[in-house]
């Protein structure tokens, strides 16, 4: 039980207890706060797992942006979660799936052992070698036919290299997804500003458009 494992276990139990607290709480405001704490604990654990880039993003996004968005929605919606009888079937289904998953992890490689398949594959070697200074080998030639022939980029931070250079096309797709999400929010909420909701009316009167935006 080295010190590292101790920290690991303490962080994990804290994380699990926050998640269970989120599940049990009725007060939506407290749940929003706990979501922020949950993301921050996730970020701490990711830092513990040697992934600073991801911890960075998770802390900035999880603790920062999503909490603000949830609070903003709560301001607009100001609803209180009504106590409703939960059917036990949900609990049974969840426990069943959990049991099967735990059974599935029994023969997975244990945490951090050096000869796990993910770490010994040649691809990882290529990603890490991509950071060598280009002066040693000639200018970044495309990855040759055999996997041994590395693709040299010369940037120390291999995560950025893989993100932008090896996987540039996928990251473009991800940026397009973020673009569409931004567009979606704009279109969905743009409509809400003009209409005054009139629940009694069955058919909503066509709102008079306020002109082309601000």
């Amino acid at each position: 039980m080295s010190g590292e494992q101790l920290i690991d276990i303490v962080l994990l139990t804290l994380l699990a207890s926050t998640a269970i607290a989120i599940a049990r709480l009725r007060n939506l405001l407290a749940t929003a706060m706990l979501t922020g704490i949950f993301s921050l604990l996730g970020a701490c654990w990711m830092l513990f797992l040697d992934a600073p880039d991801v911890a960075f993003t998770e802390a900035a996004v999880g603790a920062g942006m999503s909490t603000i968005l949830i609070l903003a929605t709560l301001c607009v919606v100001n609803a209180e979660e009504k106590p409703s009888r939960e059917s036990p079937i949900a609990l049974v289904a969840v426990l069943l799936t959990g049991g099967v998953l735990v059974y599935g992890t029994l023969d997975m490689p244990s945490y951090g052992d050096p000869d796990a398949p993910a770490t010994t594959s040649p691809i990882t070697r290529i990603y890490l070698d991509s950071a060598n200074a280009p002066s040693e080998q000639e200018e970044g030639h495309a990855a040759g036919s055999n996997p041994g022939d590395g693709f040299v980029v010369g940037i120390p931070n291999t995560v950025t290299t893989v993100l932008a250079s090896f996987r540039g096309y996928d990251t473009m797709g991800e940026t397009a997804v973020i673009f569409t999400a931004g567009l979606g929010v704009l279109m969905v909420l743009a409509g809400a500003r003009h209409r005054r909701p009139d629940p009694s009316m069955e058919i909503e009167p066509e709102p008079v458009d306020e002109g082309p935006g601000k």
Partner: protein
């Protein structure tokens, strides 16, 4: 079961996954469901990162004096997934606002009741 510690990470990830799953299934409030969804997402992210770790390795930033690095690939996948996750949750919350405006409530069973009535 000597390496209970080894698999402990995966079990906690599964506990988080199941908690998120339970919130999405059992709770009727729409905002609560979205929060459950983000809990589920964070657990998937942690699963990916746990797979990429090597004992005694350091962050995948090549520097002199370090030889063992953790695998950069999971970090890349999760980096974009987190921001996309928040963007989709923003769209979900925008829809919740519109649902509340149209139906006057964000409890799932009341919404279904109004749907059956209409």
């Amino acid at each position: 079961m000597t390496d209970v510690l080894g698999l402990f990470n995966y079990w906690i990830v599964i506990v988080l996954m199941m908690t998120g799953f339970y919130i999405v299934i059992a709770r009727h409030n729409l905002i609560k469901k979205l929060i459950g969804l983000s809990v589920f997402q964070v657990s998937v992210f942690l699963l990916y990162i746990t797979i990429g770790v090597i004992e005694g390795g350091t962050a995948p930033i090549v520097a002199e004096g370090y030889a063992v690095y953790s695998n950069p690939l999971p970090s890349v996948l999760i980096l974009t997934a987190i921001v996309v996750g928040v963007a989709t949750i923003a769209v979900g919350l925008a829809l919740v606002v519109r649902i509340q405006e149209e139906y006057g409530t964000i409890e799932e069973d009341e919404i279904q009741a109004q749907d059956h009535k209409a």
